[in-house]
Amino acid sequence: MVRVDCSKLCPEWPCEQPDEFKHVWVIAEATEEGVSEASLQMLTPALEIARKLDSKVVGILLGYNVSRHADTLIKHGADEVIVVDDIMLSEYYPEVYGQVVVDLARKYKPEVILIAATMRGREMGPYIANTLRAGITADCTDFDVDEKTRDVLLIRPPFAAIMLAYIKTPFRRPQIGTARPNVFPVPPADESRRGEIKFEKTSILTARSKLISRKILKREEIPIEKAEIIVSGGKGVGGPDGFKLLEELASILGGVVAGSRKAVDAGWISHERQVGQTGKSVKPILYIAVGISGAAQHMIGVREATRIVAINIDPEAPIFNQADYGVVGDYKEIVEALIEELRRLKEAGPGAVEELIREYTQQAQAVGQG
């Protein structure tokens, strides 16, 4: 094992040897109702890293009235859970939650800390890392381990996902990374799993921030960069009425509406909902591009969409070459038909889906045979 030469370190940093650190931690976001899905997903890379390092996965559960959820972490793969259940933690404040994790990390010295890159996780993570004088890598999409040095490779896509950077923090521990929600699945639950649950206290007595109010957002108010389904309109939508139709489609899909720069400049949609280089980068599971030609400045903002559907009247539109599923036609008629078809399916129930798929598989086969 490499020894760190303390004389070369910044004196603001504690001089610690990597081999003093052990275990892979997952910081769990939890409420009285349970542990968040995004946090449970983090157990998947944590288990993989722990397997390669021959180490244990420890869940860190913070909150008030959350102790009973320690079991959930164990059933999904954690070997151990450290719980801090305190009325001081009934509301989340980044530097309070952050400080609790810092205090635990100073005591237990974890080798790796993984945090779900939810908005709170992205807020709290760098505070934890910095206060420990440790490195942190944001929004990882993958992890690997150099088994010889025990360095974790934290893999992330900077520069609008044009490249992948492999980042490591040699000689410094803990190695901290956040990973985006829905990149990893929740590990399957095993009801028979048992693990140790430890209880810790916090010495923090006051928060310097105070929550005054919280208003739950309506579906259509959810920020586009957090939406799983986006219906996005461009110049081809033609006006604000067209966007009302897109909103109707978004509503039945439980998604939100966004727009291209042209649609924003025309005043058809607010600039907070602009996708692209001068707008926001979005990462939905499904991006439905309606009347969007597919200019490079727009497409850079949707590189990380899992699937793109394009609806455009111009068969030559560049979007068709950058989408997964494209249909050529009048957007208004097609979107109206989509709304009607989705309503029909919703009414008919999941069984109707099989019939629909069968119809189009047969058609595809018929075309293939012809």
Binding site: R133, G135, L164, Y166, L217, D324, Y325, E359
Partner: protein, 279 residues
């Protein structure tokens, strides 16, 4: 109020190259701009100044060409600018960068008096880490809050409204504090010629090197960075299916799209969830 706005001078396009030897980015020759997500941060600071008086100081750690970025914010109405620049700062990761920025804020306090608020953009377009605000708060020991859309003073205390994935929250935060402003939350005011002229005449840009800050060279730049980039691969194109369908009629188009999405394992679950609350 004395408000510091931190900005980053970032490469404008994808024309960014990488030095495989040092594992750092080559910024020379690439056109640069103020990180677009920092403009709402400057706007928030200027609105607070408009409302309550005081001064706005724009701060960046960068090589000297970033002065153009500082001039942009001065043109919006900021009163002073500080450039933290030194060869020793090169190759810094977010921890080493935030250290220099935090020390810059400390020196601003020595020179011009206590700072009430440090404002940052939510993230940058080139690296999107969203680290700096929280790290600066950690170095300074100040409370902080991210994703702010609105800020005002109430009974002498700072109030903010911030946006999460599915909620809007209002907080009271004691000052001094650090806030980061949500992307696209505010439309930045245009640069005014009169402010630009004033900036030219009064020369409000202060340049501090590491000699001025007096930081241990082991704490800054590449040496002060716990993380290193060990490898980079390019992702020139995202693989797409590119299946294009010419429908018989709108209903056929709609049914074809849904048949694809329901038989695609990547989208099936999301659709089941949307229509029936689960599979």
């Amino acid at each position: 109020m004395r408000i510091v706005v931190g900005i980053k001078w970032v490469p404008n396009t994808q024309a960014v190259r990488f030095d495989p030897k040092t594992g750092t980015l080559i910024r020379t020759g690439v056109p640069a701009i103020v990180n677009p997500h920092d403009l709402p941060a400057a706007e928030l600071a200027l609105r607070l100044k408009d409302e309550y008086g005081g001064e706005v100081i724009v701060l960046t750690m960068a090589p000297p060409p970033a002065i153009q970025g500082l001039e942009h914010i001065l043109g919006m109405g900021a009163d002073r600018a500080v450039l933290l620049t030194d060869r020793a700062f090169a190759g810094a990761d977010t921890l080493a960068t935030s250290y220099v920025i935090a020390q810059g804020i400390r020196k601003i306090e020595e020179e011009w008096g206590p700072v009430d608020l440090a404002v940052f953009g939510q993230e940058t377009i080139d690296s999107s880490t969203a680290h700096i605000g929280a790290q600066v708060a950690s170095w300074l020991g100040w409370p902080y809050i991210y994703y702010v859309k609105k800020a005002w003073l109430q009974d002498g205390r700072l109030r903010v409204v911030r946006q999460l994935e599915s909620a809007v929250e209002e907080f009271e935060v004691s000052t001094p504090a650090v806030v980061s402003v949500a992307m696209k939350a505010l439309k930045a005011r245009p640069v005014r010629l009169s402010y630009k002229l004033r900036a030219k005449l009064e020369n409000p840009i202060t340049v501090w090197t590491n000699k001025d800050l007096g930081l241990d060279p082991r704490c800054v730049g590449l040496k002060g960075s716990p993380t290193i980039v060990s490898k980079v691969t390019y992702l020139p194109e995202v693989p797409r299916k590119k299946i294009v369908y010419k429908p018989k009629d709108p209903r056929d188009a709609a049914r074809w799209i849904l048949a694809q999405l329901f038989s695609d394992e990547k989208t099936r679950e999301a659709l089941y969830k949307a229509l029936w609350g689960g599979a």
